[in-house]
């Protein structure tokens, strides 16, 4: 092991332990449930000495105890809860589900954009790694497959970035903002290196593989380091890879114009003024609405008069 890797703290080392807290909780839980059911099964079954709650819930309704009607109520409660959370709160936020994954796995997210400002949230592994993450995650497989399966179920954490950081020894990303509780970096990927299928990244990965074999003490696993080494000429730049993009002057001028003409937002100002005037006019009791209420009340009272007249009508014999 080199000096560089020795400097990495134990916390950062990707060590796969068998008895993680989640596994301990699961084992204790399973044993506890088995013990409880074992005790219950050994007990002598007998009915309650007296009906629960004075027998209110045992009262028969349509020949069925009242508590049986809790079943549809419970089903309704679960359905409403599921519909509210899953549809109104979760499904609609599909582009941001990665945030929850990042929060549970205590990792960062990368807010990525291209030159046309198509933003997307990506995992650190998806936005930073030169190689496919499966290449790293294969290292955390247990001897037995079922243990790997349980481990991934209990702790679905992508450890590829941890491995890559460990192997590279230094990392370029630095979170600059927080999205909720999740630290986030913002990345410009103008040439689509981080797309799922990227010929450029594949070409860079080949060069990095060669470099890593020749210099195991100075490995490249992040695209940022790869870019830097290609720019400095430490590794060859593949033919199909361009390291720079041009930003035309007009784009900066549009964003930061040297002078602004107030006439540009004249319409905006007028709209604002009309909104303010309308709000001032509609302050307090709105007489139009009061008139509508009186009118509707009159109609209602009139209808009531006719109803009473019809009800009180006695047919002449």
């Amino acid at each position: 092991m080199t000096e560089d890797t020795d400097q990495i703290s134990e916390k950062e080392k990707p060590v796969e332990k068998f008895l993680t807290p989640e596994k301990i909780i699961l084992i204790v839980g399973v044993i506890g449930i088995l013990v409880i059911f074992g005790i219950i099964s050994l007990m002598k079954w007998s009915l309650v000495d007296q009906p629960f709650f004075g027998g209110i819930f045992n009262t028969a309704f349509w020949g069925t105890p009242l508590y049986v009607f809790f079943i549809p109520v419970a089903l309704l409660m679960y359905f409403v809860a599921w519909a509210y959370w899953a549809h109104l709160r979760w499904d609609m936020m599909a582009p941001f589900h990665g945030l929850y994954v990042a929060m549970t796995s205590h990792s960062d997210v990368i807010f990525k954009t291209d030159l046309n400002l198509n933003f997307i949230l990506k995992s650190e592994a998806g936005a930073c790694l030169v190689f496919e993450k499966d290449r790293y995650n294969a290292l955390v497989e247990h001897k037995y497959k079922f243990l790997t399966g349980i481990s991934k179920k209990l702790k679905p954490v992508d450890q590829s970035t941890d491995f890559a950081k460990f192997l590279q020894g230094s990392w370029e990303t630095k979170p600059v903002v927080n999205i909720g509780s999740v630290p986030s970096s913002i990345l410009l990927d103008a040439n689509g290196w981080t797309k799922d299928v990227s010929p450029e990244r594949a070409a860079i990965a080949k060069e990095c593989d060669i470099h890593n074999d020749l210099s195991p003490d100075d490995q490249i696993h992040s695209l940022a380091k790869a870019w830097k080494y290609m720019d400095e000429g430490k590794i060859p730049t593949p033919v199909n890879v361009k390291l720079y993009v041009d930003v035309p002057w007009v784009r900066i001028d549009n964003s930061y114009s040297s002078s602004r003409n107030p006439a540009a937002w004249g319409g905006f100002l007028r709209q604002l003024a009309e909104t303010l005037a309308a709000r001032a006019a509609s302050g307090g009791l709105n007489m139009t609405w009061a008139g509508i209420i009186v009118f509707v009340a009159c109609i209602g009272i009139s209808a009531l008069m006719f109803v009473m007249k019809i009800l009180a009508h006695t047919p002449v014999k």
């Binding site: 045992n58 599909a94 999205i179 909720g180 870019w227 390291l243 930003v247 540009a264 604002l272």
Partner: protein, 324 residues
């Protein structure tokens, strides 16, 4: 007392002569007994799993109540789980608001605050301005200079704003601005050929003096009309024609780089915060409203209401007469 034996039963009957007693009979109200229906206990659901445990009332709790408690407790746990899960997405709820809102003025906005937080808000876009139109107590407003500063997030148009500047932020322009300023400050003007060309072209530039007269580059540099370096936005504006001569094809930025939205603050225009911009615009709008938008007259404000009240009274009177 006489003792006799019954003929059939051989039971000895003792006839005891008793002294006459006075019996006081108190009239007792005898109520009709209420027919009580014993609750039916289900042989399965009403068993008491904790029958032998004489602690608290555990021996009286039936199986169905325990099941109901478990189902209820799990429902609470289920909701808490979803709450935590969806809570992680809370900074992005502006996206959902924008998704559900309709209208051409709906604008999803990504906000970078000075406290280094990132979240999404639903704001209103109107005529080069982005603001909280329905909440005029919040004066923050941003000027949208060009559509190149508006991207897409989750399929919806998304603009980026910061607390420190009243312009909609274009990250690519930010990176380019920082890059060109840094390159100029550190004298990275490219190769010799480019420097020679830029030098020749720069000498052809003319600059305006404060009195309106023109001068060439060398004179302007000698008189201090153009700064030596870029310290702020004003310096950048003064040097802008020269920068374009040095890098005529635009600014080369790394195709893969991390962006710090606060890095460019040093080169941005000063004293142009969104709250100041919004405050000034609101003040102007109030003045405009006071000067140009006339107050509604009495009939404008109350005419419709009076017609409605009159109509209602007529209907009421007619109904009364008809139903009498």
């Amino acid at each position: 007392m006489s003792v006799a034996t019954g003929p059939l039963t051989n039971i000895i009957v003792t006839n005891i002569t008793q002294a006459p007693q006075v019996v006081v009979v108190t009239p007792v109200a005898t109520a009709t007994p209420i027919p009580t229906v014993a609750p039916v206990l289900n042989p399965v659901l009403d068993i008491a799993p904790f029958h032998s445990i004489q602690l608290f009332w555990l021996n009286t709790i039936p199986l169905w109540a325990i099941l109901a408690f478990i189902i209820g407790a799990y429902w609470v746990w289920y909701n808490l789980g979803w709450w935590r899960k969806c809570g992680a997405l809370a900074p992005c709820y502006g996206y959902k608001d924008a998704l559900m809102a309709s209208g051409s003025n709906v604008q999803q906005t990504i906000v970078f605050t000075k406290s280094r937080k990132w979240f999404i808000r639903l704001l209103t876009y109107h005529s080069e301005g982005i603001l909280y139109f329905n909440d005029l107590l919040r004066t923050d407003m941003w000027h949208m200079g060009s559509s190149s500063a508006v991207g897409k997030l989750g399929g919806l148009p998304a603009a980026i704003t910061k607390d420190s500047i009243d312009e909609v932020v274009d990250p690519v322009s930010d990176i380019a601005l920082c890059k060109v300023c840094d390159d100029f400050i550190h004298g990275r003007f490219g190769d010799q050929q480019n420097m020679k060309r830029a030098s020749q072209e720069t000498k052809l530039l003319t600059f305006n003096r404060p009195d309106g007269s023109e001068c060439d580059f060398i004179t302007a540099a000698r008189e201090g009309l153009i700064p030596d370096t870029i310290r702020d936005f004003d310096d950048y504006v003064k040097l802008r024609p020269i920068l374009e001569r040095i890098w005529p094809d635009g600014i080369k930025i790394p195709c893969y780089c991390f962006y710090d939205p606060y890095d460019s603050d040093k080169f941005m225009p000063k004293n142009r915060s969104p709250s100041l911009f919004g405050g000034l615009l609101l003040k102007k709008a109030r003045d405009l409203a006071a000067d140009n938008i006339p107050d509604l007259s009495f009939w404008d404000r109350n005419g419709v209401a009076m017609i409605l009240v009159l109509g209602g009274l007529i209907i009421l009177g007619a109904s009364y007469l008809a139903s009498r």
